[in-house]
């Protein structure tokens, strides 16, 4: 199955939403909310483009298209079209079309509607890039882009703290997982040397053979589980309900949260079917399924109920993928399809109810059946599918998945029981969502409820009807969508035979009946179940959601504590550390590499030369113990002049003169400054501090002495100086070699040096002439870029 190379149209299809994102605000400015109609054409066309792949893909063909992006690093912008990516691309663009329409109605009149469209399109493009991505790096880029764009979408209602929190939470959780995924991908690339998914899939054992399977598996899982909200990372998903409903309907049906499931499905041929895979995935998936459904039961907010069932569904999908059993995988594909359709529809319904009635709390809703007949119909169809009743696609999915779990030997029973309980609870929620708001007596709602405009009901109707239609033509559905996708999952071409109605009474059918019975029973006890779950959660009193707050709060607090310890504001500490490192740097290598100098011979200095050295030492000691500023200044001068004499002693008159002048000027400036700077020059160092600083100082001095001795005991390469001596007069016309070096041989140093001198003059001028402005707020002044004019002193 070598993929065929196709033209770039598919690449442009991925980029089209990004272009639409640019146009959207403009169109919205012109057409207001009706801009949704022209904008919806974009995903519509993308959908059409991908329908073209359905036929060939169902025959087992695959395609790639690629453009070089960063070829020096092996990164291409490339797509890989097979059953799995086609299914996802169709869901993303298909549901996306209706989400755009729905957003047009839902945010009608909102001042930032254009921006909202933009964000949606950006997200759509990222999602398409993700599911079609062939190059691991470009796949990852789109993966992170979905995190970024969902951050913007979830926080769209930015003035509310809850929205901001949810957005940050989504970013932190999915972004953090993304880093794990990146690490995993980089490991794959460096271990296998391959970067294209299609190539990797061509040799399924390539990762398992590297010996890095475990870290890669864990890191990829880290990405997938956070994105697909597996327990214990599930908490960000319900919180993301703070976003406007179109966002929830899109992100939580077929896109964002399915990205993790997509990744697991995509990597299944590479990472699946190992003991690790078939243990870890069912375990986390199962727990997520049960936790999700139970938490859903507790809610009374329509959107939150749906959000938690989304968590549960994702758990179910992960569990099924985790079995690595072919029939269960088939069930997963079908359930994925069914879930995308009914969940997308139900979210939109919830949003419409909220929009039209002013609330989405099921305890405050009722009897909307007659006021909103079309919405009601759509809600019924979708929740029947969700409940897993015939003749809907949800039913078909459930049959197949039971078949798969039941037939799976290892942990079949546990998985089946988990699935049954989960599905029963799912049925409870489905019933609650469809029945509570619409049936019963009419309840007074904040807004007078009536049917929404076509923009609002087009999506729900279409999606729910599709859910019905796909079930009615089950065989074709299986042939065109499920089979090809399953082929991608198992890594070989599969054709399946799907029926709506079971042909005989078998285990799955019985399990279905048990599920329905259990579900109906639980639904009658919904209120008691709800208070029970509530009581249990109250007893636990902690959840990962609270944990997130503690994490952020904790890390900020810890950072503050640590930073104030490390950067304590005391320059003495800073200096101390730096000189300790200096001492280490000058002492340690010498001792470690054994390059200590030989014991020095007593130099044959003359009497007066010893005298000069002695004066220098005297000056140093005097500076060290100086008690008054006059002695300090004078003794500083003494050591400086002694240095000048040393230069003279070793044949450096230029140096000596300059040192002499510089030292004089230093002393003069010091004296000028010190008359103003009223200092008590006695050193208030307590004995331990004096000892410690003394040790450091001696260590630095000793280290440098040893190094310098070692170097000067080696022979010297005087090539440079010989050259200068030879050509100083002959070519450069100067008899003072030092001066010739300064102005000619190494004149560029001097140019830099005089720049330093000029700058020093200017610095001092800037320091002295500009008068400090009084602080506005005592201490912590806040100098802005647009400061008031400073007073000048002269």
């Amino acid at each position: 199955m070598t993929p065929a190379l196709i033209d770039d149209t598919t690449l442009y299809a991925v980029l089209a939403p990004f272009a639409a994102a640019v146009v959207a605000p403009v169109l919205t400015r012109w057409f207001k909310h009706n801009a949704a109609w022209p904008l919806a054409i974009v995903p519509g066309l993308i959908f059409l483009h991908f329908t073209g792949f359905i036929g060939p893909v169902s025959h087992g063909e695959t395609f790639v298209a690629a453009k070089a992006w960063a070829p020096s690093y092996g990164v291409n912008f490339s797509v890989y079209v097979d059953g799995l990516s086609t299914l996802f691309a169709l869901l993303i663009s298909g549901i996306g079309t209706f989400i755009i329409l729905y957003a047009g109605g839902y945010l009608k009149g909102h001042p930032q509607q254009g921006r909202f469209f933009s964000f949606l399109f950006l997200f759509m493009g990222s999602m398409l890039g993700l599911v079609l991505g062939n190059n691991l790096i470009s796949l990852f880029i789109f993966w992170e882009l979905t995190s970024i764009t969902s951050f913007l979408l979830i926080g769209f209602d930015n003035l509310r703290a809850a929205s901001r929190r949810a957005a940050l939470q989504a970013l932190v959780v999915t972004g953090g997982g993304g880093l794990a995924l990146l690490a995993g991908f980089i490991l794959i690339i460096s271990a296998t040397g391959e970067i294209e998914m299609s190539v990797l899939l061509g040799s399924p054992d390539i990762i398992k053979d590297t010996g890095l399977y475990l870290p890669i598996f864990l890191l990829v899982l880290g990405g997938a589980f956070t994105k697909s909200a597996q327990f214990p990372f599930h908490f960000w998903l319900p919180n993301a309900m703070e976003a406007p409903t179109p966002v929830s309907a899109y992100l939580h049906s077929a896109t964002m949260v399915k990205a993790g499931v997509y990744l697991l499905m995509r990597m299944h041929p590479l990472l699946g079917e190992t003991a690790l895979w078939t243990t870890v995935l069912p375990l986390f998936g199962g727990v997520t399924l049960i936790v999700g459904t139970l938490l859903a039961v507790r809610q009374t907010d329509l959107k939150l109920m749906l959000a938690y069932t989304t968590v549960a569904s994702l758990g179910l999908l992960v569990m099924l993928v985790g079995t690595s059993h072919e029939k269960a995988l088939e069930g997963a594909v079908l359930y994925l399809l069914a879930h995308s359709l009914f969940k997308g529809c139900l979210f939109m319904v919830a949003g419409t109810i909220d929009h039209e009635a002013g609330t989405r709390d099921i305890t405050r809703l009722g009897g909307l059946r007659s006021a909103m007949p079309i919405t009601f119909a759509a809600a019924c169809l979708a929740s029947l599918s969700m409940a897993g009743l015939p003749p809907f696609i949800g039913f078909v999915a459930k049959e197949v998945l039971y078949y798969g779990t039941w037939g799976w030997l290892e942990l079949g029973l546990a998985v089946t029981v988990t699935a049954v309980i989960g599905n029963a609870l799912m049925l409870v929620i489905a019933a609650a969502v469809a029945i509570k708001p619409f049936f019963g007596p009419k309840v007074e709602t904040p807004k007078h409820a009536h049917e929404g405009p076509v923009l609002l009901f087009a999506g729900p109707v279409f999606l729910s009807v599709t859910g019905l239609g796909l079930a009615l033509i089950a065989h074709t559905t299986g042939e065109l969508f499920v089979g090809p996708t399953l082929s991608s999952l198992v890594g070989e071409f599969k054709q399946i035979d799907l029926h709506l109605w079971p042909t005989k009474i078998n285990a799955p059918l019985i399990l279905s009946l048990i599920t329905i019975g259990l579900g109906v029973a639980l639904f009658t006890q919904l209120d008691r179940l709800r208070s029970l779950v509530g009581a249990v959660l109250a007893a636990i009193g902690w959840g990962p959601d609270k944990g997130f707050d503690q994490f952020v709060c904790g890390i900020v607090g810890f950072s503050g504590w640590l930073t104030r310890k490390l950067q304590n504001g005391k320059m003495q500490t800073y200096m101390m550390l730096i000189f300790i490192f200096t001492a280490v740097a000058v002492l340690l290598p010498g001792f470690m590499t054994g390059s200590l100098p030989a014991w020095p011979k007593l130099p044959d200095y003359r009497f007066y030369e010893w005298g000069i050295l002695f004066i220098a030492v005297l000056g140093l000691i005097a500076v060290l113990i100086a008690k008054t500023r006059l002695t300090a200044i004078v003794s500083l001068g003494i050591q400086g002049f002694a240095v000048a004499l040393i230069f003279m002693m070793f044949g450096a008159p230029d140096l000596s003169f300059t040192q002499f002048m510089v030292e004089t000027l230093s002393v003069v400036i010091l004296a000028l400054v010190m008359t103003r700077l009223n200092l008590s020059p006695s050193d208030h160092r307590p004995a331990p501090a004096a000892f410690l600083t003394g040790v450091v100082a001696v260590a630095v001095g000793l280290g440098l002495t040893l190094t310098l001795l070692a170097i000067t005991q080696q022979p010297f390469d005087s090539r440079l100086s010989d050259f200068f001596a030879q050509y100083s007069r002959a070519i450069a016309h100067g008899r003072n070699i030092v001066n010739v070096i300064i102005v000619d041989f190494r004149g560029f140093d001097t140019l830099g040096e005089i720049a330093v001198v000029v700058l020093t003059g200017l610095c001092v001028l800037a320091l002295i002439r500009v008068r400090t402005k009084p602080d506005k707020d005592g201490g912590m002044s806040d100098p802005g870029p647009s400061q008031p004019q400073k007073v000048e002193a002269s």
Binding site: L665, H733, N736, N739, L762
Partner: protein, 139 residues
């Protein structure tokens, strides 16, 4: 400090020092000396003059702001190295113009111009620092 004697001799002393500094500058290529040391001497001259007769009179005497002089010195030094551009040689390749004026050899060269630039930079910058500090002293 500001005794009458000091104030009287300071201008002459300063003038003498400036003269000496120019001498040191010019002989630098062949004997100990050069732009730096010359500049430092001249800056000291300005400082002494300033202490004796006040900063204002120094400023009047040198016409330009010392930082301007310093900037000009830098400009000149950098330009001096660029002449070689026109001879297709590398930056700072020295150019010499040597001619004889009645037995005295006079050498004009880019290193000399460069050294004068150095001199001006040092006079300007160090002089500016000294004057600024002295001015601070006065108020």
């Amino acid at each position: 400090m500001r005794t009458i004697i000091f104030r009287t001799i300071a201008p002459y002393l300063s003038a003498l020092m400036v003269l000496f500094s120019v001498f040191v500058l010019l002989r630098g290529h062949n004997e100990p000396g050069g732009g730096f040391i010359g500049g430092l001497i001249a800056a000291s001259a300005l400082a002494i003059y300033g202490i004796a007769c006040g900063v204002a009179s120094v400023r009047r005497a040198i016409v330009f702001h010392p930082m301007g002089v310093s900037g000009f010195g830098l400009f000149m030094a950098a330009l001096a190295g660029m002449l070689s551009f026109f001879k297709d040689q590398a930056f700072m390749t020295s150019q010499w113009l040597i001619f004889h004026v009645s037995d005295v050899e006079v050498a004009l060269s880019t290193p000399l111009v460069f050294d004068i630039g150095v001199y001006l930079v040092v006079v300007g910058a160090i002089g500016s620092i000294a004057l600024a500090l002295e001015e601070r002293e006065a108020d």
